[in-house]
Symmetry: C2
């Protein structure tokens, strides 16, 4: 692999202050400006919003969950619709996970062997099986633009031995995924494991690069470890990943995590946090999170965030949003989600601009000082 | 009262075939073309949609529930926002009910005396009281454009004696409401009771006209009686109401009920049916209702109604909507509600056109023949 080779990732600029980079990922669906945040659309919808709401908030790519769609409505059904984009009416790009993480979350309902993952549906208990090859086939049926290899998840904490065994299995599965990947207009990303051992992370990153993928993800973080450890592991991994491929930190995280991930050279993020928090009434502002159910907002005629330009902040007060949340009105989840996604996606847009202007260090300082002003 | 006097209602045209009429109601917020359907916005939101969705569907006026808003967030709080229009960001007109129907629905939690209705909050059991004067004050605080008198509800079936007693109390309350009505830029409607006794309906309509209101509602129907009886009572009431005031059939009903109500001279309707059915997966089409959860739709690539131009029908298939409903996704309620409201509001627009063209009888025949084509 030479740095000059043609890859789906183009590096536009590199911060002079840290590992942050400004680039783009080309999928068959379009071009994604990075660093990017991907809203999570588990079951063929980003919960509580329309595709138009997503586009208005600036979403370029969303994530679909293979496990959920495999179980319902079924990947073959989605394929007959021409894929997930058509099914859900989303014009942007779609990244699908492999289903591995959800299967592992089933715990006693799942059994991992060399061959793959045997598990039971959380809906009806049906016995199901997903091999690395199946994971690629299912994602191809879903019409995913960026597919993920089936990987094994490593609990935290885990011994060095457990970590090596699981990481080795992930490598063998990755090679099988790579071989099964026959629709080459879609991208396939490998997932770097290695637990909390920097040198295992480094070795695994090298192993995956030998197999050769269209991008590299950092898996197995944000699983209960300290923030500092997560950030060190991120840094240890991006440091050994090739410059001319995109790096995706899976399932992360808070606004602070995004800033710190970008600082350490990450290009792509996904997390349920903005959408899930919205449905729990936890709303992001430049000065930190607010819990809209708090009685202090019942006569507050100001918007969630005075600096926000989203539909919700342009049209509604905190008092009204508190009322909707207390009354369990569906509109509450809709309006809160529009705001939180706007917050995340505009944070990423601001980060991209800061890297372009090579002042990300000052941006980061401002970001933290505003957080402290609450 | 002379037919030539200035009233908030203007009659544009009268069908030559039946009692249907095309007109308009002027409120301080704007002009409402009638016959009109009013979506129900119980708690300061029409459930699962935004004000923009309502406007796009053609809503001119919505209904707010005084009982609910009185309890939460409180009418004084809404008043501090400049009224319900500001609070919920709705630019059209608002009619509020008096709270009477909801209080009666509380059954053993409510006690009716000459003075008013004592009841307990369904939320926290707090002891509350609403007199006819309070009902007007609360609605004035809410900033309602069309307010309703506090009335007593008559169970079905009810004896002649029970009906007379309840209707007489409603008359005394109506006179007190009229007297309490001091913000005269808002309209106040009287509610004709009289149960299932045509001559009591006639007498009550006359009594209310003597008091003098800005419009007249037909209350106490759709309470369990046969459709035929409801239609006869509607006809018996509209027949004795003045031509130059609008008539509002409360809490009704199905698409067929709207057509039959208009046929009998009704100008205004409200009902939770389109919104509530939407959340239960029951969707209206020109050929009748469909239950979107039915397995027959799981591979159906057509829209809910091929003739519908709503956002949901333009963008999504029955199969996708079935998937969302099965997965209990919030987007399901949003998209279904957009469709059902569009169906109701466009039915009314088509009815208005048919009356303008004086071919409502033929419209009504077509309407039923399409229903039978399912």
């Amino acid at each position: 692999m030479k740095d000059s080779e043609q890859t789906p990732f183009t590096l536009h600029s590199q911060s002079s202050e840290c590992a942050a980079r400004r680039g783009e990922v080309k999928t068959r669906q379009g071009v994604i400006q990075t660093p990017v945040f991907m809203p999570v659309g588990t079951q063929g919808t980003v919960k509580a919003v329309t595709p138009e709401n997503l586009a208005e908030a600036g979403a370029q790519i969303i994530l679909g969950n293979t496990y959920h769609l495999f179980i319902r409505p079924g990947h073959k059904r989605v394929e007959r619709f021409g894929g997930l984009h058509q099914f859900m009416n989303w014009k942007g790009s779609i990244l699908t996970d492999s289903g591995g993480f959800q299967i592992f979350s089933l715990k006693e309902l799942a059994k991992i062997t060399e061959e793959g993952a045997a598990f039971r549906s959380h809906l009806d208990g049906a016995k199901l099986f997903l091999s690395p090859e199946d994971a690629v086939q299912v994602q191809q049926s879903l019409g995913s633009d960026i597919m993920m290899c089936l990987d094994t998840c490593i609990p935290y904490p885990a011994s060095r031995k457990e970590t090596i065994d699981a990481t080795d299995l992930t490598s063998r599965w990755a090679a099988r995924c790579r071989k099964a990947h026959d629709k080459r207009d879609r991208l396939l990303f490998g997932i770097v494991q290695g637990g909390m051992f920097p040198e295992l992370r480094r070795q695994h990153a090298e192993t995956l690069q030998e197999i050769g993928f269209d991008g590299y993800a950092i898996g197995g973080l944000s699983v209960g470890e300290e923030k500092e450890l997560m950030r060190d592991m991120t840094e240890a991994t991006t440091a050994v990943l090739p410059e001319n491929y995109s790096r995706y930190l899976m399932g992360v995280g808070t606004p602070e995590d995004l800033v710190e991930g970008v600082w350490r050279g990450v290009d792509m993020f996904d997390c349920v946090m903005p959408t899930r928090n919205a449905r729990n009434g936890s709303l992001f502002t430049q000065h930190g999170k607010i819990s809209i159910k708090n009685a202090r907002y019942q006569d507050d005629h100001s918007p969630i965030d005075a600096n926000c330009s989203c539909y919700t902040c342009r049209k509604y007060t905190r008092a009204y949003l508190r009322h909707l949340f207390q009354a369990r009105e569906i509109l509450s989840y809709h309006l809160n989600t529009i705001h939180n996604l706007h917050f995340y996606l505009h944070l990423m847009a601001d980060i991209r601009k800061a890297i372009e202007n090579d002042n990300f260090a000052s941006f980061r300082k401002d970001f933290y000082s505003k957080l402290e002003q609450e």
